[in-house]
């Protein structure tokens, strides 16, 4: 019946998604996600052998821009919404190696 996502699976997905989850959230999401996944499995009722996927509906192709320089933002504008900045650099915690 319900495949159900285990806590471990939920935690794995949360890690891929870079979402820090609280314990209650892991439990709640496990249930809600499982419900959603069960629902969308209905798609298996639709036959799609040899049907090409549609990734874009506009039907366009080859949309380019010419290799021309346009004005950039002044660094003050680029940085103005950053919580931390240092000598015009963005600052992030060093938690990765």
């Amino acid at each position: 019946m319900s495949q159900g996502l285990t806590k471990a699976e939920v935690q794995h997905v949360a890690q891929l998604a870079n979402l820090p989850l609280k314990e209650e959230e892991v439990v709640d999401f496990s249930q809600k996600l499982s419900e959603t996944i069960d629902y969308v499995k209905r798609l298996n009722e639709v036959k799609t052998t040899a049907v090409a996927p549609t990734y874009q509906t506009g039907g366009t192709q080859n949309r380019f821009r010419e290799d021309e320089i346009t004005p950039s933002l002044p660094p003050t504008e680029a940085l103005k919404n950053a919580e931390r900045q240092y000598n015009n650099f963005f600052v992030a915690p060093d938690v990765w190696d």
């Binding site: 794995h12 891929l16 874009q56 380019f64 821009r65 680029a78 650099f89 963005f90 600052v91």
Partner: protein, 446 residues
């Protein structure tokens, strides 16, 4: 037990376009003050959208063609999703399923082919600097480089020695520079290497069938010079041999090179790091090329360095060595051919080649005509009368009796010294051949 290295190479090349891959910011980032070439697109601000740079696509097709790839008539961009502070959107726009070029090759030596699996186009990330602010360990991020177009060239694991890697890199670099799409400079970071290496027992054919590939692969990343790449590979061959000899397994992992420690080191991998959740980029319509457009690319390829070298050998009788050096860049090769075609009959292509190679000519300062003039005047020899010659030879032989005795005892190489003495007397434009003949004549007479 003797192990053979099985090496593959991933090369990233920054294209020298004026603007970035998906926005109009200047792509010139080397030494620009931080975050001065950014906009909502390359900063990954909410609501920003990518629009591809046509020249970057054209240049990638050109390179793919030069590497004899099959150019895909249908291609598109994909998103590669992962989190890292230098990746503003937390996804990189790249090509996963339908790269611009596939299944090409590069012949690095007669009979030795390196297969090119794919050539594709993507965007570069920003630059990180690890540092400390107060007691806080932080990374400083500069997005000037974010969004600069990168071409990625991936080979099959066809290399069996470091020399082969060397040849490939030099050749690839020359082709890229000849196409004038990048200065492919490892010091400036416009060409980056990511070798991957494993070891196999003795006989390892090329190509190696997939089921016979070694059961692991070590990827070497963040190596910023060719010298370090060689050192890292040498180190790995040693390290892996030792492990395998002791019956241990080599871990599949990513390693970096530490110049301080003179060793490679394992880089921390997060679980699930490689699940990039690729899917087609919805913000960019697919690329479709007509057969005519792709055919036109073929005609845009100029004479590449290696074919040109072959032609110089056949046309002008140069040696492999000479042809290789002269085709290092277009300017030098053009200069050489200009000199050859305007030279007088008594100046051979080989001579011109030797001059260019041995005499450190600055071709920017000395025109081909001026070079030819120098060669001609060097060929002029100081004429002296037969009597003068006789007199000087007698003088030299008299002044160097020990040398003469040694020569007659069998030390024929002394002749060079005696010629030198003659040249000192006559002048630098002395006709060495005539001197040599005369000396030998006189020395025979005891």
């Amino acid at each position: 037990m003797k192990y053979t290295p099985v090496i593959g190479l991933e090369t990233h090349v920054e294209l020298a376009t004026a603007s970035k891959m998906f926005c109009g910011c200047s792509a010139e980032h080397f030494q620009a003050p931080p975050n001065t070439h950014t906009c909502p697109v390359c900063l990954g601000l909410p609501g920003a959208l990518p629009v591809p740079n046509k020249r970057a696509v054209d240049w990638t097709l050109l390179l793919a063609e030069a590497l004899q790839c099959q150019l895909n008539t249908q291609s598109h961009f994909d998103r590669k999703n992962y989190f890292y502070p230098d990746l503003p959107k937390s996804y990189q726009i790249t090509q996963y399923e339908k790269p611009l070029g596939e299944n090409g090759q590069l012949e690095i030596a007669p009979g030795k082919i390196i297969r090119i699996r794919r050539v594709h186009l993507e965007e570069d990330t920003g630059k990180l600097q690890h540092t400390q602010i107060g007691s806080d360990r932080v990374v400083l991020v500069d997005f000037n480089r974010s969004g600069v177009p990168l071409v990625e060239i991936v080979t099959e694991p066809d290399f069996r020695s470091l020399e082969e890697v060397d040849l490939y890199v030099k050749k690839l670099q020359r082709i890229i520079r000849r196409l004038e799409i990048s200065n492919a400079d490892m010091e400036k970071g416009s060409m980056r290497l990511e070798p991957s290496i494993s070891l196999s027992g003795d006989e390892v054919p090329v190509p190696l069938p997939n089921d016979q590939l070694p059961p692991y692969r070590v990827e070497l990343k963040n190596i910023n010079s060719f010298r370090f790449a060689r050192k890292a590979l040498e180190y790995e061959i040693q390290r892996q041999s030792e492990l395998l000899t002791m019956g241990q397994k080599v871990l599949q992992q990513t390693r970096g090179w530490s110049e301080d420690k003179n060793a490679t080191f394992a880089q921390r991998e997060k679980e699930g790091e490689h699940d990039y959740r690729y899917f087609p980029e919805p913000d960019i319509p697919p690329l479709e090329f007509t057969p005519e457009e792709l055919e036109a690319i073929k005609h845009k390829i100029p004479e590449l360095p290696y074919p040109r070298a072959v032609r110089l050998i056949n046309q002008y009788g140069l040696s492999d060595y000479q042809a290789d050096l002269l085709t290092e860049n277009k300017d030098l090769a053009d200069y050489f051919e200009k000199a050859v075609t305007t030279a007088a009959k008594n100046v051979s292509p080989k001579e011109i080649a030797n001059w260019l190679i041995n005499k450190k000519i600055d071709i920017a300062k000395l025109s081909p005509q001026a070079l030819l003039a120098e060669i001609a005047s060097a060929k002029e020899t100081t004429t002296i009368s037969d009597e003068e010659m006789e007199r000087m030879v007698r003088e030299v032989l008299a002044e160097n009796s020990q040398a003469v005795a040694d020569y007659r005892k069998g030390k024929t190489q002394i002749l060079g010294f005696l010629i030198g003495c003659m040249v000192k007397k006559i002048g630098p434009k002395a006709d060495r051949n005539a001197i040599s003949q005369k000396l030998q004549e006189k020395l025979r007479v005891s």
